[in-house]
Subunit: 153 residues, 2 copies
DNA sequence: GTGGATGCAAAGACTTTGCAGCTTC
DNA sequence: GAAGCTGCAAAGTCTTTGCATCCAC
């Protein structure tokens, strides 16, 4: 984890250098907070955490920082359904997809080489070279008791 | 195609009967227009087509009709990126996913049994029974000339 | 110093809803 | 008739931006 966040920081900094963007106190806090979070976060959620460290940071700054992170390849956005976009730290080499329980809303992550490979094949058959993909599965926990525990969390 | 739209209509009507919803001129036009469209449409796009038949139909009515269609299982929504939601007629038995060209924006549809099966397996391994999924691939047309023709269309 | 960054508040882009009047069943 | 619709316009949600001020380089 230490390595991963260091790699992400390196990636971000080189991107910022290339584009002559500036390192600021706010961006530091936002970055640190962002990578320290597991899984997905909304802008609001991230802002709340950031404000614990620096209460004067505004929504727009977080918004713009996240946009920067996405541009730098440090973060990824998703819109699973309605409502706010969800951001998560990028994976530098591997990649994962999501499986969401309709009832409890838990988001499981997984990766599957068979599917990845097959996607390449399919794309090529249609005449495209694949750049990236998004796959989300929805289902219902088979362990109802466990599921119930997580409802609304 | 004739069969398909008849099936969708049947599905919608039985849903409406069960929920004691009413058949109206507007809903008829919206439904007919919707199923006659190939691929994806936005609410605005659909409304424009609907207005050709009945100019007095309002945005809200189309919006509510589409919501109804989705509830009835006749339509599906997607949000590929930013902007408006895209609606498409549901497939009654088979299912397809999307492959989008980053440059020209064309949306290709495909289905792949190997992937579908594998998804079931993955979900089960994580303790969930799969209900549905969304998969979108992005890539670049290998035929650049052809791609160029479709840019911005 | 200068160009980029920040915070605020305001504007956008879409989606959703309240309501009075109009239609179906 | 009563329960549902429709259209309009207004209100929400979230996202994005204009601008004066501030700060990193």
């Amino acid at each position: 984890m230490q390595d991963r966040s260091a790699d992400l920081r390196e990636l971000l900094e080189s991107y910022m250098r290339e584009n002559s963007l500036k390192k600021t106190r706010q961006r530091d806090v936002i970055f640190d907070t962002f990578v320290s979070l597991e899984g997905h976060t909304t802008i609001d959620g991230l802002l709340a955490r950031v404000k614990l460290v620096n209460a004067s940071v505004g929504y727009a700054t977080v918004y713009r920082a996240l946009k920067l992170f996405v541009g730098a390849g440090v973060a990824r956005v998703q819109r699973f359904g309605d409502g706010q976009a969800l951001y998560e730290a990028a994976e530098l080499d591997e990649h994962h997809d999501h499986l969401i329980c309709n009832q409890c809303g838990r988001i499981f992550e997984f990766e599957d080489d068979v599917i990845e490979e097959r996607q390449e094949t399919v794309a090529r058959a249609l005449g495209l070279r694949l750049t990236h993909h998004r796959m989300t599965l929805w289902g219902e926990c088979m362990d109802k008791a466990e599921c119930q525990k997580h409802v609304g969390s």
